[in-house]
Subunit: 335 residues, 4 copies
């Protein structure tokens, strides 16, 4: 940590602050410039609250040197994490494809789509039973009935299931049915839910919040991991920007960023990022080329009848084309 003092701060004040910082457990190295004095802190800075230091009138700025994420960070865990989901490995460059409808609507709908995506090589079945919707008047999901249908689809197809959990109260029931529990963008900083997920061992798919920085996202993973669950899969799903032609702006730079900073697997959701089915295949190809560990894709056999997010769902034949394209790029990457 580096503390920059305001110009013309007196020597006494600098001494007093240094003593206080040392009393909190670190040593202080002073660099005196012409206008500015800089204090470099070494050792255990964990007991120092940056906001307390900045509350002092004579402190200009405080610059943090170390990343605040310990468990999610690569510094103390250099090798890539691989997560096992019913025998399927996620992470370390292995391309995992999760696919299925936005929302579970009926047994027929779910099984039709599950068979279709399995046939094209998808590894994991997605489907929402509890749906977070912007409007209280929109369809909110089949709830436990939807979870039962997902279980049935897993029994029939053998595909593990990922589904979203939207609150503490239903966490246990969702976890009872799911092989991966998803925490959505809107809940990325629902810290109570993160802690709850951390007490489980079920893998967690943690979507990036709509306006979450890289650091906030990794700190959300840290919440889960610090409670004891190391099985976190990150998912980039588009960030909010001024550009409204797409629903969100897919930030593919996040993939190499995460690879630099963290050992956790990262997948991409081009369906929610763009909101437009016509853009899902090109951005899936880009995601695989940039080095992602997986994709999560919305597929519906009748998008114009889908109860949620039809506009971004691929028909099975278009999903087949996508799978064909991304496999070729994945092959090159693995050479």
């Amino acid at each position: 940590m580096v503390v920059v003092m305001k110009p013309r701060t007196s020597v006494e004040i600098i001494e007093k602050l240094s003593k206080k910082l040392e009393s909190l457990g670190c040593s202080v190295h002073k660099t005196q410039g012409h206008d500015y004095c800089i204090l470099g802190l070494v050792g255990d800075t964990s007991r120092i609250d940056p906001s307390q230091i900045e509350a002092n009138d004579y402190v200009d700025r405080l610059l943090r040197v170390q990343h605040p994420f310990k468990l999610a960070g690569r510094t103390f865990h250099p090798e890539n994490t691989v997560i096992d989901v019913l025998g399927h490995k996620i992470g370390d460059g292995n391309l995992t494809v999760m696919a299925g409808p936005c929302a579970v609507e009926s047994e027929e709908q779910l099984l039709t789509i599950a068979h279709a995506v399995k046939e094209q090589g998808a590894h994991i079945l997605r489907g929402g039973a509890f749906k977070p919707r912007t409007s209280p008047y929109s369809f909110q999901g089949l709830e436990e009935e939807g979870l039962k249908l997902l279980k049935k689809a897993r029994e029939i197809t053998g595909m593990p299931v990922v589904t979203e959990v939207i609150c503490l109260e239903t966490f246990d029931i969702v976890e009872a049915y799911a092989d991966i529990v998803q925490i959505g963008a809107r809940n990325m900083q629902n810290f109570a839910l993160l802690k709850k997920a951390g007490k489980s061992k079920t893998p967690v798919l943690l979507k990036r919040g709509m306006s979450a920085t890289m650091e906030e996202w990794l700190m959300a993973a840290e919440y889960i991991m610090s409670e004891g669950n190391p099985n976190v899969i990150l998912c980039e799903r588009g960030i909010r920007t001024f550009e409204k032609y797409t629903r969100n702006t897919l930030d593919l730079s996040a993939v190499p960023m995460v690879k630099e900073l963290s050992h956790l697997p990262i997948i991409v959701d081009p369906s929610h990022a763009t909101g437009k089915w016509s853009m899902v295949e090109p951005l899936s190809k880009a995601a695989v080329a940039v080095g992602v560990d997986g994709l999560i894709i919305e597929v519906h056999h009748q998008p114009e009848l889908a109860v949620s997010d039809g506009a971004q769902s691929l028909k099975p034949e278009k999903f087949a084309h996508l799978m064909d394209s991304v496999k070729k790029i994945a092959q090159i990457n693995s050479i």
Copy 2:
């Protein structure tokens, strides 16, 4: 609702879509231009899911005409809502000041600050007992112990209390102690929590999400109201932008926007918006001038020792100066 068809869509397809839309309960008026055909929908469009319509290949765009918020909107509720909190009226131009520490730390700390802000004319005491923190390693609040201290401060000072609720599980206990429950920016789209708050009658302070549009924010209010709780107070607390000199960017345009679209009271939080105590007074003055119904301000007698957000807390003497300034502006506004 207006549906714009892609150029060169055949007459048959337009007829087919029109029939489908009519079967969902509305009438369709067709405007045929040279390149585009536009369908204007009239009547009850509530059964039409925009995303299903956009999922059709031949649909270019869909433009919504009516606002989706019914209860929170001004159209069917033109007069301003006024909320009564233990006899204090919030809304309709009456300036309410909420003030207190970011986090409740101890009885002495809380009472010292409570007395100080009361003396300067604050109406409601703020203080966090459950703290949503970006890092799992930061102080998470005194929890129920903090709530008990808030109750004590209310008994001694007579000030009603506003405090944050961060999860479903602790909603009932927070509500038992609070006169206003706050739902923070990170939980603005925690729909399960919104529904829970909607089943209560306790007034809810609903902060705007960091990247929430006006419409999403009002739809979050709609979640609470549609469950039966009409007592929602909106709070603008800064949005996330590219500018990092302040912690967030305070969007004061939100005040006249909310006044145009909604009948709910709106207050402003300049402390969290800026993250810098030196900017709290000028922006409080601006908020009052723009026509806000209230302010929520962080005050701490020893900000350099505060366990949370010291950098943005005002000392009591600075708070006194702020109160003096904003009262003068409020007087002008009320003439």
Copy 3:
């Protein structure tokens, strides 16, 4: 300047870099932590290019301590700058109101509006002769004919004139007619134009770019000042964010920020910031309350016939109401 080395960088490399930095004219203070080594640079760092240092594999990050703006900054110029425009003083808390039509359309239009705003107490007449328009098919302004009309309006009303310059080629002619030349948001980093304006002595109204940080904006002022023109007036006119209910998001925090960092006067343009006439008065009041040095307001007697930006123009009677409101707030501020 502080250089943070990557963890586990060898002592030799650190020595080598330190020597190089010293050879560029500064002294280097090393702070060695457990994982990180930090180099604090003291003295003249002006010959160090941050990007060259960051290009080294073993450098993690580089943190700048001093602000890069020297002439625009407050550090070496603590007292507020006051700019004289034909005897009218701009800056240091004196409220200047600039008002007039978006575009000069005709003699009758301009004089009607000029008389109306003068009568209400406006100090300076605005009006565009060269208009930067998003579409090449929109009205581009009356050009020199418009400048002549502005000159005439000045002769008749006695009001100094501010008008926009959009390119190098027409700078001299605009300057010949204008008392203040405006450089618009889209040209804020048109460095050739900034240098040209710097070679003049005519005051420059420098609008903030749509996505310009505080630092970039002050560096644009620095371009003008470093060429010899100290007469720069900053103008906040809304930044681009995800929120589209208003045309831009007015960043009123910019006012206290600029006051902290710079000695230059700053005014606010609520007309372009919001794009909606109904929001101009409340945000003007807020701007004055936050401590701005002036306002620039679009006024048109027939906004529904205006050739440019009618939707954000105030009718003269609404402008009169605005003037009345802001004067009262200005009075309080000056007590």
Copy 4:
């Protein structure tokens, strides 16, 4: 164009507005709902200024149906544009690689890099002679001397040259040396410069502004094309968002968006988008996978000595690796 009237607008006012709109040359179709009345305009709406219509008190909103770009849009020009640069074809899926230093520094530097990138298969040499720099104190380029060196490099290597033009005054001299003139992000709405470029026939590389929407970008191209120059190459170089880990956020969705809306070639600049050399290769691969027509890459043999943007420059051996990777992905795309 669709005009939405405010609720409860009288029949007389609606009639009056309809007549006015018809007098401007279009026909008006009225759709009367319960609360809202919608006017659908058909025919030639080019004489209608949206802002004038919105200036009316009784108009709620105005929705544009047609895109405002005619020449840059795909509607009236469905086939892809291919631009010939000294025999090299840019566009229609042909992968063009432009590479070279950020700034031309010396003959030796430029030739060393030019030979290196040519050897790896780059088609066009980039190098800045006039540099737009945020600070007036930074190196501003070798100017005409730099252009002469570029010419020499072209004579020796046979590679066409792309270089930036930053102002009207130097346009002619830059054009005299360049095979492609680049208009940078900061000048994307320097309309005078766009018009000047439109009067030339030299191909223009038009970078997207830092916060330019898709529509504003295509309207900037429209400026050039409407003056008579059809040879516009678009370049996505990252947009400004809240995320600061990378310099900008590369918006790869822009590629399929542009392909949908326009016939112009589009290339990607991953060097400026990320500001970090380690991210250039992965994002180049992603850009090629998403279907871009080309890349522009900064290469420097000694980035730690580069006078500009060293942190984002690739060394020749890393550029060789990049070329190898992107060629493989390009091959798959072309199958």
